[in-house]
């Protein structure tokens, strides 16, 4: 089998993203040295600087790599760096500016972004930050790296798997096996629940899905003829049973909301070779629902949390805790291997893919992060009818597809790093491997439970 490879090409941003720091130059204190530190900048940012007429700013803040050479070396002490308030404005409490700028850099270069300024903590937090992956076998893949001779597979299968085969008296299978799709990365695409995305955005996502050979789930209302060439890599979401007749014939996977799940068998009989995915919003009932549906022959579940990875409840739990719960109860029932569990919501960084997999998901469905890769600033101005500040409706589909491909390459590389450091050679092995993760709560309990106040 040929190795899976993603072709990366730089896709520079159309609008310069705000830099983390702003350069403040006290020109009045300049001593007029013959060899100015500005000429000696190791990244040559002072030569590249221009005026950005959209942000009304010097572009130097974007090129600067914050090495502080000029700040340190200027004899007059005339140069200072200060945190950019525009930078702090982007995103929200979960999608922090650091996360968003990291996604932008990965989408631009297709490589793992390196922050050279060191990390001073904190080392634990809320959400995904209260678990650590165990990299104890870090010595393993270093011989020739993650892309070396030893192939690490990131394939996953989507569909129902039989736990055993039954044969009739002639030794033949009485019925056909259920349909199964194999995709080379454990990441699927879909659209976020908000926003107005134009045709170019849909086209670029479909193109990227085709190139990567993954799946892009799109509502039937947004499906047009232009997307038909990509049908092999499309999943279609339907809202009602009436839409079933309007489905294109050769679609491989359809998604239905939970309230249509009682019609699952009927849909299956009319579309036997199509995989039917059931979308279940994460709530306290999701566990019971998934157990019942698995008994009734469900194939694929899509558990969706909100954009911040929280369940829809009064006291919401975080996505990884619920998935862990659902995964373990499916294991207890002995039916975990029969269904595929896909998760969406709050997946913002590459490590979140590995972490949800450890908590028991087969793969993730990405939504908002793909828009960020296409330069979305999550300002949600479009919901109020204000024109998009980055004009996302008129992007070039090829450019958009390349940004998504780049991001997926960077994320897959990081997944490979995690797998390599764990000494694993297949992402399917990582599913539910909670022994290979450390949970902050458990560690606290182990250390301090005995001295807890009664």
């Amino acid at each position: 089998m040929p190795k899976y490879h993603i072709n990366v090409k730089p896709a520079p941003p159309r609008f310069l993203p705000p830099g983390k720091y702003v350069l403040i130059d006290r020109e009045e204190g300049c001593l007029g040295c013959k060899y100015c530190v500005k000429k000696l900048c190791p990244y040559g940012v002072y030569n590249k600087r221009e005026f950005d007429s959209i942000q009304l700013r010097d572009t130097i803040d974007y090129y600067c790599r914050n090495c502080l050479y000029c700040v340190e070396a200027c004899p007059g002490g005339t140069i200072t760096l200060m945190v950019n308030p525009t930078y702090l404005e982007i995103g929200d409490s979960y999608w922090k500016p650091e996360i968003i700028t990291k996604i932008w850099r990965q989408a631009e270069t297709g490589m793992i972004s390196v922050s050279g300024a060191g990390y001073r903590g904190p080392f634990a937090g809320s959400g995904f930050d209260d678990m650590w992956t165990d990299m104890s076998e870090i010595v393993r893949p270093t011989r020739d790296g993650i892309h070396g001779r030893e192939y690490i597979s990131t394939d996953i299968e989507i569909g129902r798997k039989l736990s055993y085969l039954a044969f009739d008296a002639q030794g033949k299978l009485p019925s056909s096996t259920p349909p199964l799709i194999e995709i080379p990365i454990p990441m699927l695409f879909s659209l976020p629940g908000w926003g107005k995305w134009g045709k170019p955005v849909l086209l670029s996502m479909a193109k990227a899905a085709k190139t990567l050979n993954t799946l892009f789930i799109i509502p039937l209302a947004q499906f047009t003829k232009e997307l038909h060439p990509y049908i092999d890599n499309l999943g279609i979401y339907i809202d009602s049973l009436e839409e079933l007749s309007a489905l294109p014939k050769d679609v491989k996977i359809i998604e239905i909301p939970y309230n249509l799940s009682q019609n699952f068998q009927a849909i299956k009989t009319s579309h036997p070779q199509t995989i039917v995915m059931i979308k279940i919003p994460l709530s306290p009932e999701a566990k019971q629902r998934s157990l019942t549906l698995t008994k009734n022959g469900a194939e694929v579940f899509h558990f969706s949390a909100d954009d911040h990875g929280l369940e829809f409840a009064e006291k919401p739990r975080f996505i990884k805790d619920i998935i862990k719960d659902i995964h373990l109860s499916l294991v207890d029932e002995g039916t975990r291997d029969e269904v595929t569990v896909l998760v969406s919501g709050g997946i913002a960084m590459a490590e979140h893919v590995a972490k949800t997999t450890i908590c028991g998901a087969d793969g993730v469905i990405l939504d908002q992060v793909l828009m960020v890769a296409l330069e979305c600033r999550l300002c949600k101005d479009c919901l109020q009818g204000i024109p998009c500040p980055i004009d996302i409706e008129n992007i070039e589909p090829d450019w958009g597809a390349q940004r998504l491909i780049n991001l997926m390459n960077a994320w897959r590389d990081q997944l490979l790093e995690v797998l390599g450091a764990m000494g694993m050679r297949d992402v399917r092995r990582l599913r539910g491997e909670m022994g290979r993760a450390i949970f902050y709560k458990d560690v606290l309990n182990e250390a301090f439970a005995s001295i807890k106040r009664k």
Binding site: I24, D25, S53, L56, T80, N84
Partner: protein, 124 residues
Amino acid sequence: MKKLVIFFCQNLSYKKEKIFKVLDFPSEISIRLIPIPCSAEISVGLLLKILETDLDAIFILTCPETSCQSGEGSIRAKKRVEYTQEILEELGLGKDRLVMFEVDDLENLQQIGRNIKKKCLSIT
């Protein structure tokens, strides 16, 4: 429609939304509020480059000279603005296109809003 940009120091005690509300501009004036980490960030070159675009005027809201967090940020900004105003005068654009205001309190900010509107309408 008049287009103008307002730079404001992030150390002012008012947030972007608040300033927007207090200044209370009519719809025929389109404004952009841009936060800056310190008013000393603006340089003569930057101000002139901005006026090269289709913007009509720049206003800068800074902290009072005596209470600048960076020590001399407001003083530097003032000097640079004065110098740029001279250049604008020489070019024949008039120094009303670039004005700096020191923000003390809320009343002061409302007064500034009225001033900016008056200045804006006088620009042709």
